[in-house]
C-alpha cells in the first residue's frame, strides 16, 4: 500500500508499505478514504515529540471503510463506513470505565503519562496512523462508529479530533453565562473552541493569533472579536485594557508546543527541542485571565519540562484544566449539533491534497502558505 512515512524533522515521503494485518482479535483493518493533517502532527513532523521513529506513518484524524475484522469484533463488518476517534482505547480499564478514554491504560506500553494515539510517535504507543491507504484500528468494537448516512464525510473527519477537541476545550473552561472567553490560537481547534464557547453561554469571545487570514475566519466562522498579537505591544496588557482591567474569565490555550510571540521561547522549544513546548500561549493565558479564573489547555505539549509561569497561576488562584479530548464521549451531542445545523465542522477545511503530494501539504500547513487552515488528505 502507499503510505506517508516520516524520514526526519521536516521531511516525509510516500512509500510502499505492507498492508497492516490483524494483530489482536478485536482489531479491524480500515481502508482510509480521507485523513486530515492536524496542527499537532506538525509537532512530530518538526521532531519535537520524543521517540518519533523514522518509518512511522502519521495521521490520527481519518475515516474509511472496514476492510477486515478480527474474530472477536461484533459491532462492525466489512464494508461499513467508519469514523475513528484519534484516541485508541480499550473501553475496560480504570480510566475508560470513567469515560476518560484519552487516558486509557491498556494501549500504550511506552508511557503512562499519555494514552494511545494513531500515528503520533512511540511515546503514544507506536501505532501507525491513517495518512495511508490502510490502517490497523485496535479495539474496533470500542473506538470507531459507523458514519450516519446524513453526515458529510468532511464533517466526519473533523469530528475525529479537531471539532471535539475545541468543544472539549470550551467545556474545560467551565464557562458560565456571560463569561468573557479568550482563545489563544485561531487554528482549527481554536476556531472550534471559540464557536463552542458561545454554545456554553459566553458573553464575549476573543480570539488571538498573528495570522490575519485565520483571524478573519475567527470573525466569520466563530463570530469572535479578534486581536492580532503582532499588532499590539503587549498582548497581556491589551487584554487587561479590553476587559475593563479585570482579565478574561476563561482563557483557552489552543496553540500548544509551537507557540509564537517570544523568539527565545520558540527557539529553545520548537527549534532546539530543549523544552517540551514553547509555553508562550499558556503563559499569556495565565496572565490574561482574571484572578480565580480558569485556564483550559487543549494545545498539545511534549513530555519534557516547559518554562511555565506557575507562580502567577498559583498566586492568582487559577484553575488549570487540561487533557487530551476523549472524543467519543462528545460524539452524541456533537452529532446533534451538526444535524441541527448549529455546527458545520467542514467549513474550516481549506485544502484537499492527494496522498502522493502530502510532503507539499505538510510544508504548506507548517509554513502557513496559501491561507491554509485545515488540509485534508485524499487517498484515492
Amino acid at each position: 500500500m502507499r503510505a506517508m512515512v516520516y524520514r526526519g524533522p521536516y521531511r516525509i515521503r510516500v512509500e510502499e508499505k505492507e498492508v497492516p494485518r490483524i494483530e489482536h482479535p478485536n482489531d479491524a483493518i480500515v481502508r482510509v478514504t480521507k485523513a486530515a493533517i492536524c496542527g499537532s502532527d506538525l509537532h512530530i513532523y518538526h521532531g519535537m515529540m520524543p521517540d518519533t521513529r523514522v518509518g512511522q506513518t502519521f495521521g490520527h484524524e481519518f475515516i474509511g471503510v472496514v476492510e477486515e475484522v478480527g474474530p472477536s469484533v461484533q459491532n462492525l463488518q466489512r464494508g461499513d463506513r467508519v469514523m475513528v476517534p484519534f484516541n485508541i482505547f480499550c473501553g475496560s480499564c480504570f480510566f475508560c470505565a470513567r469515560q476518560l478514554y484519552a487516558n486509557c491504560h491498556n494501549v500504550n506500553p511506552n508511557a503512562t503519562a499519555v494514552g494511545g494515539i494513531y500515528g503520533y510517535s512511540h511515546t503514544t504507543g507506536g501505532y501507525d496512523g491513517g495518512q495511508a491507504e490502510f490502517v490497523r484500528v485496535p479495539f474496533a468494537d470500542v473506538g470507531p462508529s459507523v458514519i450516519p448516512d446524513w453526515m458529510d464525510e468532511e464533517d466526519a473527519v473533523m469530528l475525529t479530533d479537531a471539532c471535539p477537541t475545541g468543544y472539549f476545550g470550551a467545556q474545560l473552561g467551565d464557562i458560565q453565562a456571560g463569561d468573557v472567553v479568550v482563545v489563544f490560537g485561531a487554528g482549527p481547534v481554536g476556531l472550534f473552541a471559540a464557536k463552542s464557547a458561545w454554545l456554553m453561554g459566553a458573553g464575549r469571545v476573543i480570539v488571538i493569533d498573528h495570522l490575519e487570514y485565520r483571524l478573519e475566519k475567527a470573525r466569520t466562522f466563530a463570530h469572535a472579536e479578534t486581536v492580532d498579537f503582532g499588532e499590539v505591544d503587549d498582548i497581556v496588557l491589551h487584554m487587561k485594557k479590553t476587559t475593563d482591567w479585570l482579565g478574561a474569565d476563561v482563557a483557552i490555550d489552543a496553540v500548544g508546543a509551537e507557540a509564537d510571540g517570544a523568539f527565545f521561547q520558540h527557539l529553545t522549544a520548537a527549534k532546539l527541542k530543549l523544552q517540551g513546548g514553547s509555553p508562550i500561549a499558556l503563559n499569556w493565558a495565565i496572565d490574561s485571565v482574571r484572578k480565580g479564573g480558569t485556564v483550559s489547555v487543549v494545545g498539545a505539549y511534549g513530555p519534557l519540562f516547559s518554562a511555565v509561569k506557575f507562580g502567577d497561576a498559583m498566586n492568582k488562584g487559577l484553575t488549570i484544566r487540561a487533557n487530551q479530548c476523549s472524543v467519543k464521549r462528545h460524539w452524541p451531542r456533537l452529532f446533534e449539533h451538526v444535524r441541527n445545523g448549529i455546527l458545520k465542522p467542514s467549513e474550516i477545511v481549506t485544502h484537499r491534497i492527494p496522498l502522493e503530494h502530502i510532503a507539499e501539504g505538510y510544508h504548506m500547513f507548517s509554513s502557513k502558505l496559501d491561507n491554509c487552515i485545515k488540509p485534508i488528505v485524499v487517498t484515492n
Partner: protein, 221 residues
C-alpha cells in the same frame, strides 16, 4: 438599587471605575439576549449537567462497547520496550517501528528509566537524531536515498504562494522560519563535515607516513 449600566453597579459619583476596583456583581458584556439573537446556537450547552465532559470522571463501564473485563493479549513478537512505570506490558500495543541499530540500543536503555526522569526523554530525543542518520545511510544502501528537496515539500513554496503568503502579512513567525531550512539540511551538513574531516585525517596520516619513510636513515652497510 438600579444599576447605571446594565449588569453593572458602579458606585455613583465617581468617574468610571475599572471593574476590579469595586464589588461588581457582573461584567459589562453585551446583554445576553442580544448575544442570543446574534449567535446561532447560543447557550444550547449552558446547562452544566448536560455537558458531555461533566462530571470529569463519569463511571459507566457499560457505555463503551467493550465485551470483556480485561482484553485478550496481543502476541509479543519481540521484547516490547515499555515504560518502567507500567506494572506490566499493556495487552495491546503498536508495532510500527521496532527498535534497531544504535538508536534502538539508546531507546531500550531510555526505557529502563522512569518517565519522571528528564534523562528518559532526552535520551529518546537523542535516539531520534541518531535514527535519522542511520536511516539516511540505510536508504542509500537500499538504493532509495533521501531527497531533501522532495521530502521537505519545498515545491509548495512555488505552487502555494510562498512569497504572497509571507510578504506584507505582519507574520511574527518569519523571524525563525529560515532556521527550518537549516534543520532540514543538518543531517547532510553533518554527514558532509564528517566525510570531509575523515578524508582530511586519512590524508594527513598518509602524508605523515610518507614523510617518516622519506626521513628514515639509510640502512648502514
Amino acid at each position: 438599587m438600579e444599576n447605571p449600566i446594565a449588569g453593572h453597579d458602579e458606585p455613583a459619583g465617581q468617574d468610571h471605575l475599572p471593574l476590579p476596583y469595586y464589588a461588581a456583581t457582573t461584567r459589562a458584556t453585551p446583554p445576553l439576549e442580544e448575544v442570543r439573537q446574534r449567535i446561532p446556537g447560543w447557550g444550547v450547552d449552558l446547562d452544566h449537567d448536560e455537558r458531555t465532559a461533566v462530571p470529569m470522571e463519569d463511571f459507566d463501564p457499560g457505555a463503551t462497547g467493550a465485551h470483556w473485563h480485561f482484553p485478550e493479549r496481543q502476541p509479543e513478537l519481540w521484547p516490547r520496550e515499555r515504560s518502567p512505570e507500567h506494572g506490566m506490558l499493556t495487552p495491546v500495543f503498536g508495532t510500527a517501528c521496532p527498535p534497531k541499530g544504535l538508536s534502538g540500543m539508546i531507546r531500550k536503555y531510555a526505557y529502563t528509566l522512569s518517565e519522571g526522569k528528564s534523562s528518559h526523554w532526552l535520551l529518546l530525543m537523542a535516539a531520534d537524531r541518531v535514527d535519522v542518520v542511520e536511516s539516511m545511510l540505510e536508504s542509500v544502501l537500499q538504493g532509495k536515498p533521501d531527497n531533501p528537496i522532495t521530502e521537505s515539500g519545498v515545491k509548495a513554496e512555488f505552487t502555494r504562494g510562498g512569497l504572497r503568503s509571507r510578504l506584507g502579512q505582519g507574520r511574527v513567525d518569519l523571524k525563525h522560519q529560515p532556521l527550518d531550512a537549516l534543520i532540514v539540511a543538518a543531517p547532510w551538513l553533518i554527514a558532509g563535515y564528517a566525510g570531509y574531516a575523515t578524508a582530511k585525517a586519512l590524508s594527513r596520516k598518509r602524508r605523515a607516513r610518507r614523510t617518516r619513510q622519506t626521513l628514515r636513515p639509510a640502512t648502514a652497510w
